[in-house]
């Protein structure tokens, strides 16, 4: 299985990349840093791959999170559904 990161496996969680759409201003830094998992819509806002992060993507995802000028992006432990 290549779905969950080592950390995710250790604590029994998958990990998801998420964005707070209210905080996001569509600056687009994230999509440049992690193009494999972040796309931009026609208006410049990030469209995230909905599936859990795999080991290969985790470092890029962390870079995207750290680079966001609006602090809108974060990595969340699944699988709990947040409403």
């Amino acid at each position: 299985m290549n779905g969950a990161s080592a950390l995710g496996r250790a604590i029994g969680h998958s990990r998801l990349l998420r964005v707070d759409p209210v905080a996001c201003d569509g600056i687009g830094m994230c999509a440049h840093l992690a193009p494999r998992i972040i796309d931009l819509d026609p208006w410049g806002y990030p469209v995230l791959a909905g599936h859990p992060l795999d080991d290969a993507d985790a470092p890029r995802a962390a870079m995207a999170v750290a680079a966001c000028p609006r602090r809108a992006m974060f990595i969340e432990d699944g699988p709990e559904k947040i409403t």
Binding site: V22, W43, Y45
Partner: protein
Amino acid sequence: MNQTHLVAEHASPAAQRRDRRLLEGPVLFDAHRPVLLAGPACDTLQAHCARFHRGPDGDTGRARDRDPGTPQARGDLLEDLDRLGLAGRGGAHFSVATKWRAALAAGGGGTVVANGAEGEPASAKDAALLLHRPHLVLDGLALAAHATGAVRTIVWLHDGADDVRRSVTAALAERRAARLTEPLARIVTGPDAYLTGESSAVVRALSGGPALPEFRRSPAATRGVDGLPTLVHNVETLARIGLVALAGTAGHRDSTLVTVLHDRRRTVLEVDPATTVVAAVSRVGPIHPPQAVLVGGYGGSWLPWHVAAHLPLEHRALQTAGAGLGAGVVAPLPAQACGLTETAAVVDYLATAGARQCGPCLFGLRAIADLLLDLARGNGGPGHLRRLRRYTGLVTGRGACHHPDGVVRLVGTALITFQDDVDEHARRRRCLHPGTGAVLPIPARPAVASRSGRATGTATVPSAGIPGIPGIPGIPGGRR
């Protein structure tokens, strides 16, 4: 409701006692303004107690049997609601028992909100309930606070809902005079905007922010207003909780309030879960077979009439047909109207009514509305349809609230239901139903919420009782 049904219902006092209804009959509103045209009179506290068989001191047999201070008594109502599978009536149909358990697990001590800010332009059920049975809603509010260990109760309304506010204010004054033992209930109002009643907007406003939806990493039932457990319940949900507490599960008869939009009027009806769409619409007036019906609300689903007519007005049954009960709106579309044009007008309104916070919603809904308006006016072609499908796919699930998801649902079901109209508009640039006026009412008032649109007009109406002292909520006679 036919005559035989009426006779059967009132045959015996026992049958009457079991027949717990929210309303006595249809309530009529003007479709384009929030004006009440006709309906049963508002219950006073005395009438309310008589109707629901409380004793002269306001006591009820069932409530008397409980010791409200014990965890068992709290759990009792929760178990009843769980057994009945009571779901919220604000649109999301989320389990009440699950919400309560989350609030209890988080330690209680927070807020319960009776949400009467009915943003849905076609809906009037919450107003009808607050105008006629305010005490039933306030009973439910006090019971929910008691059962979940909340210390604060709020009635959340729109600024412009003057008649509703008067009704609730009078009811709270009566409860204060009767010295009910329940938490202090306050009326708090927010801007007259479509999203003011969205639950995260309510929580944000009550925490001192603007009345706009917010992105929440944990549910409000766990961490809401001021970081404490917060339950935002639609007023119909609370009335239902009040009925269950008064009548118990044995006497419980499920029903739903729906607003039928027909002949430029909104009529609020109380229907059994078995009542079909055609039966509900027929109760409002003679109908010529419509071509389609909008179910749920403006963020709801269009269904062709032949599909919808014999479906029961019950959430799960509607789900199997690709719709849902939503906020309980049933809006038949006359055969001579253009479904595409109606949908374009509604989506244009919904795009304007957004909170302007999330990019995909702010830009995406505007783009979708403009494409639809072009198509409706005969200025769009097949390329418009392709972009429409692409954009609706792109905005789904990408807002802080479900506003864009509702628009996607409406547009998606419109493209299927009105396929012939859409083809005619896109390929031949003409309308199959020219010259018909708009059927669905579009509010003329400014629909845009703003970041400066904070909760205003806070009317503090202290109700009776001694906060912190256990008592049976909502039961008169808890003398100081």
